[in-house]
Symmetry: C2
Subunit: 417 residues, 2 copies
């Protein structure tokens, strides 16, 4: 704060501009009241709306009071949109021209507006609107420059404009940007009237935000943190972590229940207990890989609901191959230990077979559960990213242990008699 | 392919433009030779370079042969840059003006070039270069529009240009875009000569790519897939998954070794085996959460190497609280089962205490190992994202089991006498 005050005004404004909404609100409220207005003016109406929303209820009025009437009306209108919808992301200022303008007239008009420092599209598209504000077409500055002098805007504008409704989710807006490689997308209401534009710059932040949300969920948080790690109060962070950990622990208690049915077997062959962690962790690891691949592919749009059968077949094959590799490793480990240390007396082959077969089964279980769970969650209207590594592992643990002891009861039958 | 041929030419070109480099290469090579040239021309030199690099060695020459000499030289020059460096990302075409031009002269010049359909910046900045091609300043079209007619470019241009060296990693370039909120960044060589520009649109793809890479690594793949899930040959996918699964299995074999030292204890108190999966999975889950939070915070730049001590303190506190919650749940589970089913005869309190204390310990172990491992990896020059859920879980499993049996040997000493 001290250092901020020592900056020359221009540098302070540039620095201020680069902060995020939370930082804007915090810094503004620390400034003397008479300086607030000047800094708030540096921001566009969409950023001001975000900043006001970051402030506490009592401070919001104070911040809104700094604005002149028309700007305040714009900001209040923006605050009505959900933050993660196109409407909450858009800038209500953009440059518009009329369809019957001549090219030179349109350029002169844009130049006059730029000189008057009026609202102008931060990117370089001009939108062609009719008298009711309905969007008829779009033309880039490059397009205006390249057009033959004397032609009219409607002769050179693009009419098949990609538009975005006000309530479109920001994740879908981001997909449109990727698909069409545009610098900005116009936001229109139900009547086709243009309300503002979303610039590709805003999408950069959206993508980071959405990736963080998915990553946090996939890492086993019930809810993503919405503030940077070090800025999140420890109480909030523990709450968001404790819920899932507790649910998973309760799920994992089923392993104790399942194992209690095999207590007699463990009693007779304690050696089986030694390989339990290895079996269940392999199921969890292969499940984590599979769910990670599918959840991310869904987020990128590479895998859709109708691809479920294809994914199932791929994961079945992968599970067989991966399980085969681990089965061989597990089998060899036991045979070698038996040969070198004589660890497992007369039952080494049966034990090696049990561990090998169980590894094969549990890895297949993991890849299938991990790859199908995201589909099930999406079908149920939930976020596929909740198919986190810990969730899949817990699912696989119970079934994996039952499988292990079932295989043992066949291959090591002589121990249980 | 059939459907592609039925599209009118304009639509086919628009459709083609929206594909990615891999799809460009595949589609081009399926087209009759005489149509290839027309479609290749739709793409900018940076996209052509990516497309050529996606093709097999023998097809590359064929594709390069479709280009006219100057375009081919541009593309070949771009192919020398690493794909994930600024040089590999940049477009070598941009619009440049001279510092001593008058505003109207500069605008007229840009307009002439646009009409001649010559290379022009796809965004809306004009770069001011000296006669040696060194970058002196930048001005936006909006800036040119807003300038008083009669002033010269050097009077209104911005001189403190944010530039990017040719070999800057794309992840760092992406950070600069986020920080400065620009539409394009100029790429300069060691002598300050401008070589091209990276547009914010390209960064959208980079961010998706980098997030996918981190997500795949965090999900326990030794290497991220670089093609969409369904397009990746199953052999390649299995290879990228098998390596890590095998390494983790070999690591997990240590649990069998560790447990063999406790075989006597398990023999005397089989009941201890029932809670092993629950103990180790809780350590894995809390570790997965902690590593996910820290790895993502590092990727976003929210946590840096010097924050290690702060992160350690936060995770110590979180681990205590989270471990406390799970300890209580585990303790209560055993006491309730004893009360209702009489499951654990006279040792319920000792067992409940053992499970509760071990949960507390193992959760703290998980949060500390999960949060510190990314720092250790980064310090060792490795990718922190390799601190995946499965890796952390495997680390914690061995120590967690030793902890569990050590606690048991104290609290359940009467069983082992």
């Amino acid at each position: 704060m001290q250092r901020f005050h020592q900056l020359p005004r221009g540098d302070a404004e540039s620095f201020f501009e680069e902060l995020d909404a939370h930082e804007h609100a915090t810094l503004l409220l620390q400034l003397p009241v008479k300086e607030r207005r000047a800094f708030l003016r540096v921001l566009g109406p969409d950023d001001i709306a975000d900043t006001v929303q970051e402030a506490d209820a009592e401070d919001r009025e104070a911040l809104l009071g700094l604005l002149e009437d028309p700007a305040r009306a714009e900001v209040v209108a923006l605050m009505r949109y959900a933050e993660d919808h196109a409407g909450g992301l858009m800038n209500p200022r953009f440059s518009s021209i009329r369809a019957d303008m001549e090219i030179d007239e349109a350029l002169a008009y844009l130049r006059r507006r730029a000189r008057a420092n009026e609202a102008m599209d931060p990117t370089y598209y001009s939108y062609v609107l009719d008298s009711a504000g309905r969007l008829l077409g779009v033309i880039s500055l490059r397009g205006l420059f390249a057009a033959k002098p004397g032609t009219r805007v409607h002769e050179v504008m693009h009419r098949d404009v990609v538009t975005v409704p006000e309530d479109m989710d920001q994740e879908i807006v981001a997909k449109l940007f990727e698909k069409h490689d545009l610098l900005a997308l116009p936001v229109v209401d139900g009547q086709g009237r243009m309300k503002g534009l979303v610039a590709v710059n805003d999408i950069v932040d959206v993508l980071e935000e959405e990736a963080t949300e998915d990553i946090h969920k996939m890492g086993g948080l019930s809810e993503a943190l919405d503030t940077p790690y070090l800025d999140t109060p420890i109480g909030e962070m523990v709450r968001k972590r404790a819920l899932w950990l507790s649910v998973l622990l309760i799920g994992e208690m089923l392993t104790a229940t399942a194992l209690s049915y095999f207590q007699a077997e463990i009693d007779k062959a304690t050696v089986l207990a030694l390989f339990m962690p290895l079996i269940i962790s392999s199921g969890g690891n292969s499940g984590s890989q599979a769910s990670t691949l599918v959840v991310r592919a869904m987020a990128l749009g590479d895998v859709r609901m109708q691809d479920m059968a294809r994914v199932f077949r791929r994961e079945l094959t992968s599970g067989l191959l991966l399980g085969g590799v681990l089965a061989v490793l597990g089998f060899v480990r036991i045979i070698v230990w038996q040969a070198v240390f004589g660890s497992y007396s007369g039952h080494a082959i049966g034990l090696a077979g049990t561990v090998g077969l169980s590894l094969l089964g549990v890895v297949m279980l993991g890849t299938i559960a991990g790859s199908m769970l995201p589909f099930a969650l999406r079908r149920a209207g939930l976020d596929p990213a909740s198919a986190s590594a810990p969730f899949v592992a817990t699912l696989v643990d119970v079934v994996g242990l039952i499988l292990y002891f079932s295989v043992a009861s066949v291959l090591l039958a002589e121990l249980f008699r």
